[in-house]
Amino acid sequence: MKEIVALIIDDEELGRRIIREYLGSHPEVEVRAECQDAYEALEAIDKHHPDLLFLDIQMPEIDGFELLGMLDEVPLVIFSTAYDQYALKAFEVNAIDYLLKPYDQERFDMALERAKRDLQSREAGQQRIEQLLEHLRKEKGYLKKLLIKQPGKIIILNMGEIQWIEAMADYVNIHTLKETYLVQQSLSHLESRLDPNRFVRIHRSSIVNLDAVQEIVSWANGRYKVFLQGGEELTISRSGAKILKKLML
């Protein structure tokens, strides 16, 4: 049988150990790496391109869902959780199998069997996970932090640190006072996840953090410009001016 490349991701050593033990009777699954947090997992995923993840949801700093959200291509996932009603609801809604800790070999085998079936029609399985992530995004509301994947590390940005966001074709530039990060995402998609009372689309190609705005100055032809704390100046489009006016009382 064809080998299945898998990763085990759980912050507790014993949580990983039980999966390894249960996999003892499944030689077709090859565990390439064990990771104890999302940072290690991202590296391992880049390196091994696994078919299957055993993924614990509760992990320090970046949880299992957030990890999946950062992946360009989501492999099949067998989720596990000890107690997380929020996650369970999301699974039920999206018809996704999951392991409730503690589980026995029989239950584990069932989940693996199901995953193997999904591997054959991989698209369906992936679609379900995409749906799950979309569902979670909607439920969670606006972003509270931004996770930016960089070679060899992940940067966690507080929303407050962001000065403005600039569209660059398929990418966006995220400007902070200190640095600028290039992220592959469309501006509109990012905009939909930002708090509209805080982040305002002032132009087709820019979103500005109101907290970072120093002043708004009237320019020629009834146009306006924004001056940011960092000294940058941005042009406001007509529709952007309308949005800003709505926010002013």
């Binding site: 507790e12 014993l14 104890q36 320090p60 503690p102 589980y103």
Partner: protein
């Protein structure tokens, strides 16, 4: 830490609605009274017509005058019945009072009805009927009506009272149960419980001895948690034992990620201390300093006697990536408000709880309690 109440087969009755219906039914009560009196007016006018043979309109008119006046009086009777509760006075006195009142009421009624007639049609009214013949009967009739009404009113009052009592009792029961459940909820964090069971599951084949130890610790912990709500205060060493049991389980789970240091004045060990106070603080520290930190962290517990106070501090390191700080802070704030409430109830202002985050990377919660035997 939050098992929903509904999940435990616990359904909250909507008491507020029922209560409202009882207390705001006054308008409806008056309306029903009016309708009943109207029915009586109609009934009596029929009797009157058949017996005396007056025209229908006259019968209805006389009847209406008589009994709408009684209806007005009955409002007073209702108020009197409420003022003179049944069962509080000796029965003979109670009966005597109502008989007297019945007579007064009847006289009043007669005076009013005849007075109104007199105003309407002058002296002729007394020519029309022979007043001496009927006044005795009417007086008796008024008394009987009074007593009948009083009977009805006492029944209503009794019923209302009974219903209210019943509701209050049910409400009280729910409140107590709520409190008990909340206490339990505080003590056993489901996340901790199921993760511990998962750890045991992993240990069973590889290290059965350690699995056994963990089962024992976990049982001890559950037992202590179940018993703890029976006692408000325990000797400090018991509370510490609870903390140690808890930490031992967490250490099996997190291994080297969890480092713990403890400094407790020996003399304090026998001091009474609020039950289940330290453990939630330590659990909070584990949650924010260890569970949320991939590199792990340190937790320190210090307790010493200073003057007539016990000062106690639980602190934990926070993960370096401080972006989560805002959220962290709020969460621990919520857990701590619970502890603060309990302390206030126990010591009424004679205690202090402080959060200090100025000494990075430490997150420190310090308590100051009176050092004494009773609480």
């Amino acid at each position: 830490m939050n098992i929903p109440l509904a999940k435990m087969g616990y359904k909250l009755m909507d008491l507020s609605v029922d209560k409202k219906r009882l207390s705001t039914g006054r308008g409806r009560f008056v309306l029903y009274g009016f309708l009943l009196w109207t029915l009586w007016v109609v009934f009596y006018s029929i009797v009157f017509k058949l017996q005396v043979g007056v025209p229908w309109l006259v019968a209805l008119f006389v009847s209406a005058e008589n009994y709408y006046i009684f209806a007005l009086l009955s409002i007073g009777i209702w108020a009197l019945c409420r003022k003179i509760p049944y069962g509080r006075l000796p029965v003979p006195i109670f009966v005597f009072i109502h008989f007297t009142l019945a007579m007064i009421c009847s006289v009043l009624w007669l005076a009013l009805t005849w007075g109104v007639w007199y105003l309407q049609s002058g002296k002729e009214v007394f020519k029309f009927v022979e007043i001496e013949k009927i006044i005795g009967w009417e007086f008796l009739f008024g008394m009987i009506t009074y007593l009948l009404l009083a009977g009805i009113f006492y029944t209503i009052i009794y019923y209302k009272h009974y219903r209210e009592e019943e509701l209050r009792e049910a409400e009280l029961k729910l409140l107590t149960r709520d409190a008990e459940l909340k206490a339990l909820k505080l003590q056993v964090n489901p996340h901790f419980l199921f993760n511990s069971l998962n750890s045991i599951n992993a240990l069973v084949t590889e290290n059965p001895q350690l699995a056994r130890r963990m089962i024992t610790r976990l049982s001890e912990l559950l037992r202590m948690a179940l018993e703890s709500h029976e006692r408000l205060v325990v000797p400090l060493k018991e509370e510490l034992a609870f903390v140690h049991t808890y930490l031992e389980i967490e250490r099996i789970r997190f291994g080297e990620r969890l480092a713990y240091k403890e400094l407790v004045d020996h003399e304090l060990l026998t001091q009474p201390f609020p039950a289940m106070l330290l453990q939630p603080l330590v659990e909070n520290a584990v949650k924010h300093g260890i569970v949320n930190s991939r590199r792990g962290g340190r937790i320190e517990l210090k307790m010493r006697a200073s003057g007539d106070k016990i000062t106690c501090s639980v602190r934990n390191t926070l993960p370096e990536e401080t972006d989560a700080v805002e959220e962290d802070h709020n969460q621990s704030g919520r857990g701590l408000s619970n502890i603060r409430q309990r302390l206030e109830r126990l010591y009424e202002g004679d205690c202090r709880l402080q959060i200090d985050r100025s000494n990075s990377p430490w997150f420190e919660v310090s308590l100051s309690l009176p050092l004494k035997s009773g609480v």
